[in-house]
């Protein structure tokens, strides 16, 4: 059985429906990418899984447990950590405090600690006492990833890592992912950048207008099929 699974997931912002029955799954140890244009529902999906948005309980199942209706702190406690879109560092906290807050209220045993995160992103160690928001965008993204890893999650949700970053920085950030996979975490990556997503993912889902329009292994998917699923162009 899959580690994390959504069953006909629907999500609403008041009267506006953003997801129309999304089915996808993530196996243990797997990296899955979700691509799609703006407004495809990718971020809504992440917000639903992480508990920021509430859904029907059985629409999201983690490790055999229905978690759709749980609040974010409860989802976090089960071992699903999120790197939110736009990084969302806490401006009143230093880099190190931002990392420490990732394991608030719990003592976790696992590969990730301040030391291992400073090994993964050495630049953060030099800037550990700076306010989180004094860093460059790429460094902030590293803090945000490190903050999520500090809880030693089973599942790492990454929402739009490349947003607003230069291509060379994006490459640096994705270079950390093999190490994160090796630590045993299963990963969901939401991206607009299809090329980057296809490089790191075992499987790919393509979303459009609140539905999954295509899925499969990156090698097996034809470029034209992805374009059609991404843009909705049937030409």
């Amino acid at each position: 059985m899959a580690l994390l699974q959504t069953n006909g997931l629907t999500a609403f912002y008041r009267d506006f429906q953003a997801l129309f029955g999304v089915d996808l799954w993530l196996d243990a140890g797997e990296t899955v990418a979700i691509v799609g244009a703006n407004g495809a529902g990718k971020s809504t999906l992440m917000r639903s899984v992480s508990g920021v948005l509430r859904n029907k309980p059985e629409q999201i199942v983690f490790d055999g447990r229905p978690i759709g209706a749980l609040a974010a702190p409860e989802v976090m406690a089960l071992g699903i950590a999120m790197v939110p879109e736009g990084r969302k560092l806490f401006p009143s906290l230093t880099v190190e405090e931002n990392l420490l807050i990732g394991r608030y209220g719990r003592s976790t045993n696992g590969p990730w600690s301040l030391e291992t995160i400073y090994q993964l992103f050495p630049v953060l160690k030099e800037r550990r006492n700076n306010p989180g928001t004094a860093l460059s965008g790429g460094q902030q993204q590293m803090v945000s990833i490190g903050r999520a890893l500090m809880s030693n999650p089973h599942v790492l949700l990454c929402d739009e890592l490349s947003l607003g970053l230069a291509p060379v920085i994006i490459k640096d950030i994705y270079a950390a992912f093999p190490a994160i996979r090796e630590s045993g975490a299963s990963i969901v990556i939401v991206e607009q950048d299809i090329g980057q997503a296809m490089k790191v993912a075992d499987r790919l889902y393509c979303m459009m207008e609140g539905r999954v329009t295509l899925s499969g292994r990156p090698m097996e998917l034809k470029r034209e099929a992805i374009h059609a699923a991404y843009f909705g162009a049937d030409s």
Binding site: P73, M76, K88, F90, E97, I101
Partner: protein, 287 residues
Amino acid sequence: MNWVDTVLQGILLGGLYALFAAGLSLVFGIMRLVNLAHGDLIVLAAYLIFVLVGTLGLNPFVAMAIAMPIMFAIGWLLQTYVFNRTLGPDILPPLLVTFGLSVVLQNGLLQAYSADSRRIPSGYLETASVRLGSLHVGVMPLLTFASALAVIVILNRLLYATELGRAFRATSDDAVTAGLMGIRPQRTFAIATGIAMAVVAIAALYLGTRSNFDPTIGPARLIYAFESVIMGGLGSLWGTLAGGIVLGVAQTIGGAVNPEWQILAGHIAFVLVLLFRPRGLFPRAVD
């Protein structure tokens, strides 16, 4: 008139105002909640200590030590069952609800303890003083100021050197993202208000031993607390102490010139500080 003495008394009085204001500053800094019942909660705590001293014959400081956890619990319950429901994008509901609480507290205390003014007896401490050079300084004002310093040092340690403090600051920055970190904002807020109310119990001891109180004096204490917080710069605890001192010194100097000017001089100092430093003396860098 001895100016050194006047200024010194003013500084010590500032300690009392900083104690009034510390809880208000903490709560505002963490959840942007302006608690209009803060002054009345100080008066409530003063009655609590008064009753403990009167009925059990306790030393006022022991009574305060008992009142602190009780006030913590009251703060926790108020935040969990009342204030948390009012927090949101609209700033009006918490103002209305705490204003209503203020009215309820004043009238409840009036009903229970009448309008007679009371004082917490503190024995020989009421008149004890120590010599500092050519000056005599009251022991009680010194204790007040020392307590204010201790409260601010401890609150700062709590905010900047503990996991709970990190959670307070993170929740204040961004409650949704704090939730993603496993922080329950509403529980965090409940603890913060509990701590603020424990500080209120300390403030209440000095309010009740140094001067008379009755059920209606809460709003005036709220004004002094507000002026201290705003003069100091929102969210800065040391600034709150500085604001309290400015207010205290202005009042004693005004009172020394002419007793009618005491209160007015404090308010004028407040206006002057805001005129020249609109964000207060020590504004927080991040806002």
